[in-house]
Symmetry: D3
Subunit: 153 residues, 6 copies
Amino acid sequence: MEQKIYFEQYEINNLRTTYGRTISEADIVFHAGHTGDFFPHHMDEVFCAQQDFKKRIAHGTMTFSIGIGLTATLLNPVAMTYGYDKLRFPCPVFIGDTIHTEVEIMSKRVHDKRPGYGFVVEACRVINQDKKVVLYCEHILLVEIEEMNNDTI
Amino acid sequence: MEQKIYFEQYEINNLRTTYGRTISEADIVFHAGHTGDFFPHHMDEVFCAQQDFKKRIAHGTMTFSIGIGLTATLLNPVAMTYGYDKLRFPCPVFIGDTIHTEVEIMSKRVHDKRPGYGFVVEACRVINQDKKVVLYCEHILLVEIEEMNNDTI
Amino acid sequence: MEQKIYFEQYEINNLRTTYGRTISEADIVFHAGHTGDFFPHHMDEVFCAQQDFKKRIAHGTMTFSIGIGLTATLLNPVAMTYGYDKLRFPCPVFIGDTIHTEVEIMSKRVHDKRPGYGFVVEACRVINQDKKVVLYCEHILLVEIEEMNNDTI
Amino acid sequence: MEQKIYFEQYEINNLRTTYGRTISEADIVFHAGHTGDFFPHHMDEVFCAQQDFKKRIAHGTMTFSIGIGLTATLLNPVAMTYGYDKLRFPCPVFIGDTIHTEVEIMSKRVHDKRPGYGFVVEACRVINQDKKVVLYCEHILLVEIEEMNNDTI
Amino acid sequence: MEQKIYFEQYEINNLRTTYGRTISEADIVFHAGHTGDFFPHHMDEVFCAQQDFKKRIAHGTMTFSIGIGLTATLLNPVAMTYGYDKLRFPCPVFIGDTIHTEVEIMSKRVHDKRPGYGFVVEACRVINQDKKVVLYCEHILLVEIEEMNNDTI
Amino acid sequence: MEQKIYFEQYEINNLRTTYGRTISEADIVFHAGHTGDFFPHHMDEVFCAQQDFKKRIAHGTMTFSIGIGLTATLLNPVAMTYGYDKLRFPCPVFIGDTIHTEVEIMSKRVHDKRPGYGFVVEACRVINQDKKVVLYCEHILLVEIEEMNNDTI
């Protein structure tokens, strides 16, 4: 699934929504194993029973990785990830929660120093089954400007 | 390994360095499988041979997850992650690269609205075997202020 | 565990039964990650609650892979898999189901064009804890004919 | 990524091609672990060095699972998998091979006994970097007929 | 986290306790897949319901691997594992149990034949949420003697 | 594959040999992730290049888990694992090594305190492609004595 979407074609406020995914205990075990973060907030039910949330919580890096992963359905060959800003975790994710991601085009601007490219900023909100935002971030894309790139080709 | 480190005790410019970790093809296969991002930049050698980098590159979310995971060796029960800012990927990570993370205390300030807490910002640099920074981000911690919390206890 | 079983020694209607295996949520998370199929029928409890089965269902390719994997206990060095026919999924597999596989020798015939070899067809039935067949297929083996191969040795 | 495609809309000879995926040693280790099939043809380099192919080969069930998984990019809510026929493995898959899948609409017919449904048969060919077919199968879909289903709604 | 601890510095009866970890069904599925041990005591709920423990039990090798893994938080560059003695499994580990490990310095003695080295024996007890010991073993470390090694440097 | 083998039937010096298995980088990544032991001896090629062995080495707990796992092909319902003694690691295991396990019946004796049971000790040697023993241990089985158990049934 591939589609060229140039800088000009990104429309502010355009919103897309991904499929959902239920977060399992296996996901937490995986992510601990993949990252090496075995802190008891994620891995120890007895410890967690005495904490504020009473239950094990997902790693923030996992909510980010899966939340962003859910958006990886359409490959745009004229865009690449530049970075992420304002990554926040307003609510915890628990085992059994079902999350999906909303991506909204937030702003765009021409790149000052790199001719033919512009920045597009997407607001990403990972949302659980109770419609609570569990992760927010701003995904910055570096995108080709069609007019300027077509001149060179 | 647990140690209480209060807001007062974080020292600007303090630097710590993690162990290293060699990124394997298995890590990329794992991360694709964990996130569902099977884009050919990560998974398809034939495709990658025709791209700029010539080789498969690690997912940005993986470099972030592993890079931050490497720092999870000492649990500070009076601090929690508030978020991350300015997450950037200056260089790609390839299979066989060995990365480690440097964490430097960058700034701190008392929380305006939440008495007894302050923000500590750590600059995190994930660095490869050639001393190139492959990931940069600013990790924002919310940390208890010892003086104010000890009063209440 | 290795045993040479030649074409002549396969007996029609001979039946063997494997051990059982309980299908876990982890298995579904694994298989999604291994294949890249994250369709909500497998991964999203909220979506599934509104579908006919009300629950997440296992991937067909997973029931096949595990069902056939259960039979891989005895290596026959004079046989190889030629293919599978009539692969069907009469009932869904849910998290928590326990499946085993029955393998019944169904038919055999000498290979027309390849001297010294014959086809043996095994009917494979993957069966759940309620004795329902959840997968049916016909496994076609290419097997050495002892008489003809012993002549050459 | 969801799109309703009714029986009427499937066009014979329509062909689609998936992204590619490089098969890693990790994939074979995963699949052995997921299915329990640790036969030496997949797991033991020393054994394989003395066999015809000289190298470890992928499990047939893995080539099937990944090959079909590659096609799971567009969800059609009015179709479901009925089964697979003529699953064959014309060539082995080795570690380092890059495979993709071609799906061609082969035939369709109205279901005799289930009004409002038809069968669509897709020929699936998993193809390696040398353009050799490593897996062939016929995927049978059960698809709603738009005309008849729209009448009832 | 690295600290040189020489033979002289190990104190008999010194005790350290690790964080806890809740054992999940995913862990058992992992370990079966990693080791190839799919015996029904670990994998088949229907079978287990008719056995003494009524429930699936963790592999002994898993309890050992995780129990010892929990202790791997502080790297001592002047010590290495020599072996393990008296590995026993006094109680089973079930899905949902939370285990941690206690390590107690039990004995030490100078190595007869290898000048500059001594043996330190740690009693390792893996303990569940009900304070029952589920695994016991004696971990034998080969440790540098500071005095003798400093002489040579 | 199940077979009742009673205490009386274990013959001293009886030897069985398992299939082999090539240890991959993926196995080491898995085992680190499963146990939480990310020490640089296993995970960091740059670190290892400066150590004695020059290469990453497998975790001892992994060699044990896989080495014992290779023997899990025949289930004996009248025997259970009592423990392991003298677990030693005479040689390291590197990525790419192919290991198999030899199991030799070493000794047996009637249980003093538990009528109807005896101990059988198996010497387990995990051996690499160069015929070097990489792991040795003595596996103690608790086995039913046929004569005494048949009396009660």
